[in-house]
């Protein structure tokens, strides 16, 4: 799990000067910077931009005494001690809860969202715009405004500290955006194909599953990915509605910060581990994300 840190460590902060280096290259008459200079510039900016994240990963491999120093320490003997500490403090149950909350809620979002998006696109119902507006407007609700009623309701239903409460809330949290994104993907599907399938007597599930889904796959994948990112990273509900059984990874992170002495290296290790699953999924699926978003935006 820790292989993701092939430290280009010393390079990152020093890139400051690198960022401005290519500017002397005068724009040529048409092409602007030469391709090589442009590549170097791109890389310099990319590294500079991501350097805080690299620094985080680097810090995770330090001993506590190297983590907070003035000036910052760039060379040190890497250690896995901090990761051991994280695993020793019962990290895995939190990971499990995050996985369940993220995956189940994403699944539910798709199950509810795909038919809804269909109803709002292929053969739109009346007042489609109002419904869409309603969905989006629920995203504007500040969740703090409803957390006390939710807490009281969960307590009455004996659903405090269960991961299913989070599943329900995350589903509600992501459903509006999902419906919205999915709807624009549906609009991409040529009408002719659907009508042809329906003439052959295929019902809605079949039409959805075997005709439309293949076309929409990147869009659905992008939607699912967005839902997963937001669910995995959600903090407010998780911290207020769970205690011991259902707490998720961000809650672990916060609990890991001791109020009597902040240990940077430990913190960095926890942050690295906590983010790793969703970061990897995001990396793997980035192509779908770009394609999905591009489908979504045109319509």
């Amino acid at each position: 799990m820790t292989t993701a840190a092939p430290a280009p460590p010393t390079a990152t902060p020093a890139r400051k000067s690198g960022a401005s280096a290519p500017t002397p290259a005068r724009p040529r008459r048409r092409g602007g910077l030469g391709p090589a200079a442009l590549t170097i510039l791109t890389w310099a900016i990319a590294l500079l931009f991501v350097s805080p994240a690299l620094w985080l990963v680097l810090t995770a491999f330090k001993q506590e005494s190297d983590a907070a120093t003035d000036p910052p320490t760039f060379f040190f003997e890497p250690t896995l001690d901090q990761f051991r500490t994280v695993f020793a403090s019962d990290f895995l149950p939190y990971l499990g809860n995050s996985l369940v909350a993220t995956l189940v809620s994403t699944l539910l979002v798709l199950l509810l969202g795909v038919p809804a998006a269909y109803a709002l696109s292929i053969r739109p119902v009346k007042r489609t715009q109002d419904v869409l507006f309603f969905f989006i407007s629920t995203k504007m609700l500040p969740v703090v405004a409803v957390v006390v009623p939710l807490y009281v309701a969960a307590a009455r239903l004996s659903m405090l500290d269960t991961v299913w409460t989070l599943v329900i809330l995350y589903t509600a949290m992501n459903l509006p955006i999902a419906v919205w994104m999915l709807r624009s993907f549906f609009l991409e599907v040529p009408k002719g194909i659907i009508e042809a399938a329906q003439l052959e007597g295929a019902g809605l599930p079949r039409v959805l599953w075997s005709v439309m889904l293949p076309i929409m796959a990147p869009g659905v994948a992008a939607t699912a990915l967005i839902c997963m990112i937001f669910s995995w990273n959600e903090f407010f509900f998780a911290v207020n509605l769970t205690a011991s059984q259902a707490a998720t990874v961000p809650v672990f992170m916060v609990g890991f910060i001791t109020s009597e002495g902040l240990f940077w290296a430990q913190l960095a290790a926890a942050a690295t581990l906590a983010s790793l699953p969703i970061v990897v999924i995001g990396w793997v699926a980035q192509r779908q994300l770009v394609r999905g978003l591009s489908m979504g935006a045109v319509k």
């Binding site: 038919p115 307590a155 004996s158 500290d161 299913w164 329900i168 011991s244 009597e260 902040l262």
Partner: protein, 451 residues
């Protein structure tokens, strides 16, 4: 079409059923035993307790413990919400002398006295009297102390020697401020003194209130008239803000106890006025670079002869708990003399939770490691008188806080003003003017009710 709907409906019902089951499952821990859910504040001493939980579980077969460990503000918010709404997630909660009496009065906490009396060898007379008293309601204890704290000054003897200055045995704030000016060395990155500036009533207001009390200031007079614009309050606020701005640590407005502790332990301050519990970090090789280089003196004074505070992290059992017997087993384990011995032997005596039991201070091993600080610590705790915090009479109790429910809100708001003054965003006068208004609103509600 119809099938989709039906399957969706089925799925929905399934999810609800599933969640219902899971909910039930989470509350009763299955057939093979009891799971205690304990909410605690994420402090190093509590981390040690988490690491030692296997010993408790070994001694109590069939009982397992799950900790919910959160930073102070979060933990307090969660615990309070849960107790006040009867959420019932927790079988034991970590609270303090701020909450205990109020919650006992409301019937939210289990009376522990009968259990204390029935537990052989649990020697509650060994608790430091001031703390025992502050955790009792109508003579019965409603929570038991895990550790107690007052405040004192840690200072770096090596830096003092270098500068050729000495610390008086019982310093006044005037003297401490002069020393801070002398030792402040921004070039070397060493602040004259480290003082909390972070907003939050548990943060900046704890040290500030102790300064306020010894300066003769008070929040309210006997008739609940807010006194935040009185000359004494103003003087104390100006003193505190000036000291931390002129000779305090960088970024003071955002540094709380944890941050100050980190700085002092990394040698970034010559003095540190804060909770006596700092010693567990400052004198611990694993987290400090200044071990053995500090000396300790009692909290500085101004007009009164006591300048410290009194605070205790304690454990109570919510009235809603379904496992009170097991919860008491756990509480008594964690606050027993035996536990202190275990920590001392496992992790070193500098790490024991200090300041709850008198016997700790009589243990030879503890006296050895704690020679530098045991006396001022015990003195600070024993001499605290939360019933009469200020020089002049007040209608409230509590030293680092006011023991009224409204203080969480009021304290937070006033602390924000104070923190803004420390950041230099408003003047002290502006901060106090605003704070006076908040305080008067609360005072009015008390006057109307004639409480």
């Amino acid at each position: 079409m119809r099938t989709t709907l039906r399957s969706l409906a089925a799925l929905g019902t399934g999810a609800v059923l599933l969640s219902g089951c899971a909910g039930a499952g989470a509350l009763s821990a299955g057939s093979d035993g009891t799971t205690l859910v304990v909410a605690i504040v994420a402090n190093p001493q509590m981390q040690d307790a988490i690491s030692l939980q296997s010993e408790f579980e070994a001694a109590n077969p069939g009982v397992s413990v799950k900790f919910v460990s959160l930073p102070e503000n979060e933990a307090r918010a969660k615990i309070t919400t849960s107790i006040a709404t009867g959420g019932g997630e927790f079988d034991a909660v970590m609270i303090s002398n701020y909450e205990t009496r109020q919650w006992a009065e409301f019937g939210w906490l289990e009376n522990l006295q009968p259990r204390i009396d029935a537990t052989e060898g649990y020697d509650d007379a060994d608790f430091i009297p001031s703390i025992r008293e502050d955790l009792s309601y109508e003579g019965d204890m409603y929570s038991v102390p895990f550790y107690g704290e007052s405040s004192f000054v840690a200072y770096r003897t090596d830096l003092f020697d270098e500068a050729g200055v000495t610390m008086p045995e019982n310093p006044t704030w005037e003297e401490v401020a002069a020393l801070a000016a002398e030792l402040d060395d921004p070039e070397a990155g060493v602040a004259g003194i480290c003082l909390r500036g972070l907003s939050g009533w548990g943060e900046v207001l704890a040290p500030f209130n102790s300064v306020l009390n010894t300066f003769g200031g008070r929040w309210y007079d006997e008739d609940w008239n807010a006194q935040l614009d009185s000359p004494e309050f103003r003087e104390a606020a100006n003193f505190y803000v000036d000291l931390v701005r002129d000779h305090g640590q960088a970024g003071a407005a955002n540094s709380g106890f944890g941050d100050c502790l980190n700085r002092y332990s990394q040698g970034r301050a010559a003095m540190f006025y804060d909770s006596t519990s700092m010693v567990s970090t400052v004198e611990d090789e694993a987290s400090s670079t200044v071990v053995g280089r500090s000396a300790y003196v009692p909290a500085p004074v101004a007009r009164s002869d006591y300048g410290g505070w009194l605070y205790a992290w304690s454990l109570g059992i919510p009235a809603t708990s379904e496992h009170k017997d097991e919860a008491w087993e756990f509480l008594s384990w964690m606050t027993d003399k035996e536990y202190i011995r275990t920590v001392g032997e496992e992790y070193g005596w500098q790490r024991v939770p200090p300041g709850n039991r008198l016997s700790t201070f009589k243990t030879p091993e503890y006296q050895d490691v704690a020679a530098a600080y045991a006396d001022p610590m015990l003195q600070g705790i024993e001499n605290a008188d939360p019933e009469n915090p200020s020089v002049r009479p007040v209608p409230y109790t509590g030293i680092g806080f006011l023991a009224i429910p409204e203080f969480q809100d009021l304290g937070t708001r006033v602390s924000q003003q104070l923190s803004a003054a420390i950041a230099g965003r408003v003047t002290v006068d502006e901060a106090l003017e605003q704070s006076q208004r908040y305080a008067q609103t609360v005072g009015d509600s008390y006057r109307e009710e004639g409480r």
